[in-house]
């Protein structure tokens, strides 16, 4: 077990393109760190630099107090679970798990003990003599984990370990990984593009975009206090709504009307011209389901509901709106960066499941401007972070 410190890590490929650019992350001993970002953001490259499969162009990689930049993977004593598992097809499950121990020249008795122990933990006992080719996806995944936990590595590294599993199994394995990590208390770095995994598993989450670290924070902080437009749009599903906004005094003007905002937020943003307002879907509500005394009428507006999706515990309603070309272009760019695509400018609101709003009809909605963030559209920076 050891802490992993990354100091100003840079990875440049032959063409000079920086796949990872000046990333510094400290992973504390025993911490579960998530690297998340859209494809091509450099998260896997960073992980492979930790384990030693990629050379580090510049910066320091320090594991357990030792600089390991020039050490071969086998000398770093880390264990890794690959996206496609990389099991050895010519060996049985038993021998797959025993492989690192045999390389370490342990005695047969010791190996047997450790392999049985790992297989018990992962419920693989009945499969020990089978070959990986005959196993299901979930079982292969567990064998790969077994190979990782069987030796006392300084840290576990996971490279999108669940992306090849179907949705149901993914949920189960996610819980399993969390439980295992808590029990073993071992430093873990986990790469994923799935934000559910990122939010549920990590003690802290590092969000990356195009090789640059955007924000390193706890899942809650990422969700509630995103530092920029990218993080705000990437974390959360359905994603945060972005609307063009202007602030005058303590009033914010959105495409749906003008609302009051807390003075602390107003002070930071007033008179800055066109801003980007970010409001999460759950910060809207259908006025008709709120007890009448609790409605702040200055924060309600009429909206035309286009489509409604009822999910049982909640429902999503879609409210299209017209935006200027400039704003539209920026929203498109944001969506593209986050690996999604927005076809139209629309507001997604999450309503109480009791709400009786109907499709293609008008409804009165409440907007919680206390929770609204305001971003500088040119830099993407969150002007109201921490407020």
């Amino acid at each position: 077990m050891a802490a992993i410190e990354m100091k100003n890590i840079v990875k440049k490929y032959g063409d000079g393109f920086p796949a990872v650019n000046d990333v510094s992350i400290d992973v504390a001993d025993g911490e579960f760190m998530i690297l998340v970002g859209p494809s091509g953001c450099g998260k896997s490259t960073l992980l492979r630099m930790i384990v030693g499969l990629e050379d580090i162009t510049s910066g320091d990689m320090i594991i357990g107090g030792n600089r390991v930049n020039d050490l071969a993977p086998r000398d770093r004593n880390l264990s890794m679970v690959f996206q496609n598992y990389a099991l050895y097809p010519h060996l049985t499950v038993y021998e797959n798990i025993a492989f690192p121990l045999r390389l370490a020249k342990m005695s047969n008795k010791e190996i047997d003990e450790k392999v049985r122990d790992a297989s018990k933990t992962l419920d693989l006992d009945e499969h020990l003599q089978r070959k990986p080719g005959n196993l299901s996806g979930g079982q292969r995944q567990r064998v790969a984990m077994g190979r990782a936990i069987v030796r006392e590595a300084k840290a576990f590294l996971f490279d999108e370990p669940l992306s090849n599993l179907d949705a149901k199994l993914r949920g189960q394995m996610r819980t399993e990984i969390a439980r295992l990590q808590k029990r073993l208390g071992i430093t873990t770095v986990y790469v994923t593009h799935d934000q559910t995994e990122a939010m549920t598993l990590g003690d802290r989450v590092a969000v990356m975009k195009r090789g640059v670290l955007q924000q390193l924070a706890s899942p809650r902080e990422l969700y509630e206090q995103p530092v920029n437009l990218f993080v705000a749009g990437f974390i959360g599903s359905p994603p945060m709504n972005f609307l063009p906004a202007t602030v005058e005094g303590d009033q914010v003007t959105l495409p749906f009307g003008t609302f009051s905002i807390p003075s602390a937020k107003a002070e930071k943003t007033a008179g800055k011209g066109l801003l980007m307002a970010g409001i999460r879907p759950e910060h809207f509500e259908d006025v008709s389901v709120i007890q009448s005394g609790n409605v702040d009428t200055s924060r309600t507006f009429r909206a035309h509901i286009d489509v409604r999706e009822w999910l049982g515990d909640q429902q999503y309603a879609y409210v299209p709106y017209e935006a200027e070309a400039e704003v539209q272009a920026q929203l498109k760019e944001l969506a593209r960066e986050a690996d999604s695509d927005s076809l139209r400018t629309q507001l997604v609101v999450s309503l109480d499941s009791d709400s009786k709003v109907t499709e293609d009809d008008d409804a009165t909605l409440f907007i919680d401007t206390d929770k609204m963030h305001l971003f500088d559209p040119s830099t993407g920076e969150n002007l109201t972070v921490g407020l």
């Binding site: 384990v51 030693g52 499969l53 071969a72 993977p73 086998r74 004593n77 880390l78 264990s79 890794m80 690959f82 496609n84 598992y85 990389a86 099991l87 050895y88 097809p89 010519h90 492989f99 690192p100 390389l103 370490a104 070959k131 990986p132 080719g133 005959n134 196993l135 996806g137 292969r140 190979r147 030796r151 090849n164």
Partner: protein, 281 residues
């Protein structure tokens, strides 16, 4: 229904024609090897030996007791095995480098290998004959092993590098993370996975060495190194104008048996899809 029967008959007919085409010479040689010398000289057109014309196992006994032939068998087995072993080892290492490493002149190595494979063997016999005599390699095992290796290596390298390319990089990286050196990863993970390729290359090499006649006859002069195909051509018996056809036939059968056994043995090893289950696919 009717087309079903028709197609079945057609298939059977086709198979029969192809089998006859391929196996008739082999079967005829076997038939010949059981006839007595006298019967062959007098003309014995039937497939089975005529009355009194059968020789039983006598021809085989004669062949196996013939000193010349015994030497030839030893030479052939020794030379072919050594050439195969060396060729496969070198080809495995070379193919791995070609499949995995980026280095200058990689294309050059591959094209050169291909050019060598296309080079007419006969054109090299003259120069080799002169060189081997100077180097004292003439009429030695090594004198045959070297040309066999150089002509089989290209094919072996091409076959094996194709196999290595199929093996996912992650296999090796996983091994390295698990604590293996590059050599251990190669030996414990890559080679076992490429085993079908290795056996294919081995068989091709062995065939070439075993069946070669040109080098065998021109780079040897005595029993020291002469392999079976060459030895059979020297098998003249007492009367040079009346070659012992049935004895030669028995010799040819004896020479074919090891190849057949080898193929049957290795056939089980050449199992495609060994990598199934290595990665999600």
């Amino acid at each position: 229904m009717q087309t079903d029967v028709k197609s079945k008959i057609g298939t059977a007919l086709g198979v029969a024609v192809i089998l006859a085409w391929c196996l008739l010479p082999v079967v005829w040689i076997i038939s010949l090897s059981f006839k007595s010398q006298a019967a062959v000289t007098n003309g014995s057109p039937g497939f089975f030996p005529s009355d009194g014309g059968g020789a039983g196992w006598q021809n085989y006994k004669d062949v196996l007791h013939n000193g010349q032939f015994k030497h030839a068998i030893v030479n052939s087995i020794g030379i072919s095995l050594i050439a195969t072993l060396l060729s496969v080892i070198i080809a495995t290492l070379a193919a791995y480098a070609i499949a995995r490493l980026e280095f200058k002149g990689k294309k050059f190595v591959l094209t050169t290998a291909l050019v060598i494979a296309m080079f007419p063997v006969v054109s090299l016999v003259g120069p080799l004959f002169d060189m081997w005599r100077t180097f004292h390699l003439y009429d030695t095992w090594l004198g045959l092993i070297i040309p066999y290796m150089s002509f089989t290596l290209p094919l072996a390298i091409w076959t094996l590098s194709a196999f290595f390319r199929e093996i996912p990089w992650e296999m090796e990286q996983a091994a390295q993370v698990d604590g293996a050196t590059a050599w251990q990863a190669f030996r414990k993970v890559i080679v076992p996975l490429a085993a079908p390729g290795v056996f294919t290359a081995a068989i091709l090499t062995f065939f070439f060495a075993w069946n070669d006649f040109v080098f065998g006859i021109s780079l040897t002069s005595t029993e020291r190194a002469r392999p079976i195909p060459a030895a059979l051509s020297f098998f003249v018996g007492q009367d040079p104008f009346n070659r012992p056809a049935s004895l030669l036939a028995a010799g040819a059968v004896v020479a074919t048996v090891p190849i057949v056994v080898l193929v049957l043995f290795f056939q089980r090893k050449i199992v495609a899809g060994l990598t199934a289950g290595a990665v999600k696919g």
